[in-house]
Symmetry: C2
Subunit: 211 residues, 2 copies
Amino acid sequence: MSWKQRARAGAYHHGNLREALIQAARELIKEKGPAGFTFADAARWAGVSPAAPYRHFRDREALLADVAREGFARFEAMLTAGWAGGKPDPLTAFNNVGRAYLAFARAEPAYYAAMFESGLPPDLNPELRAAGDRAFAVLRGAAESLAANLPTKGRPPALMMSLHLWSMAHGIASLFGRGDAGRRTLPMTAEELLESAMLIYLQGLGIPQKG
Amino acid sequence: MSWKQRARAGAYHHGNLREALIQAARELIKEKGPAGFTFADAARWAGVSPAAPYRHFRDREALLADVAREGFARFEAMLTAGWAGGKPDPLTAFNNVGRAYLAFARAEPAYYAAMFESGLPPDLNPELRAAGDRAFAVLRGAAESLAANLPTKGRPPALMMSLHLWSMAHGIASLFGRGDAGRRTLPMTAEELLESAMLIYLQGLGIPQKG
DNA sequence: TGTACATCAGTGAACGCGCGTTCACTGATGTAC
DNA sequence: TGTACATCAGTGAACGCGCGTTCACTGATGTAC
């Protein structure tokens, strides 16, 4: 019978309020943007009193930072899956990382906004910064594998190549590939735009295209 | 003496409150982000009563949209100046458009944020949309001039090339070249990153580099 | 050139509202013995 | 296995505050004659 008592009484101790608040923030950010939610909002969404969130987060910004941190972790996982250890070949896998970037931005507009458009200064929050760096490291690893196949002469540093990929994917995602109302319409898909850019870029690097 | 009376009494009729409010919004956005200012804030900054802004803007969002619209107009002017009619040659001028993009983002973080990160849906405000299109038209014109010098065979559409430039410049500016606290540090300048990317990209298009 | 009047652009007081935050509290849970 | 106690995670009432918005108003400006 104790489980039954728990189920009834469970309303008091929420059990996992911390995660519920992050989930609430995501929901509210998706609807109204990173600026469009309040601490009280999140509490209401999670079904607790307005004082409850203070048990878990110092303030609204701390909650927002945790959403961003969690977002970077999922982002990292998605990029890693896109890379797939360089399979079937580094060139294809490199392109797949770009596609994963776009897929994440579209599927998770709330995480994306918290990560990149919330105004949180990346350099002032070490944990957040570290989470972002781990995600970027995936891009860098991919660029390094790809660079290894290039002729040494005139080869750009892998770090730079990874920053090129990051910037291009980020620009396309922010302008044309977002999952919220800020998206600009385009006479092609975001994926096609990225793929065409990568094609020309890789050609410039001297990487032979598949025929 | 009438000028003196004006100077004293001028406090009543502000004279150019509309512009003053836009200026106030820019100042406040620069400090605290697009979400970080209120209608009352702007009025206070401009030195008028909290009811005064209603004579000029329906609400906060209308003011924000006007900031963005004005921003796009200045952006367009800056890109046009960068292009400089394709002088000294289309290739150099094309790169200069990219530099102008970065320069604007760095020099005008408030405009940039209002234009691209305020959450205003671009497709729901025709005037705003038109202002953005005019700015983009500069990129497109530049890409068309550049494309005219390319071998016809395998040449990508100029529209696509201009979208590539836009996305890359935007990605770099948003991540590494912004003028506010959201900037990520980088082991090179944003300009160097853009230039290196363009170099590879143009090589991929078969455009001979200058030696 | 002067006067009367309409219009415009601001005032300032007032309001209801929701937010952030604090506080003493209490119900539920975990643990020592 | 049961009991006492400490700790934890929530309540709910309260507060001060600033915001958005309305309102009747008034000072300044422009214009007709």
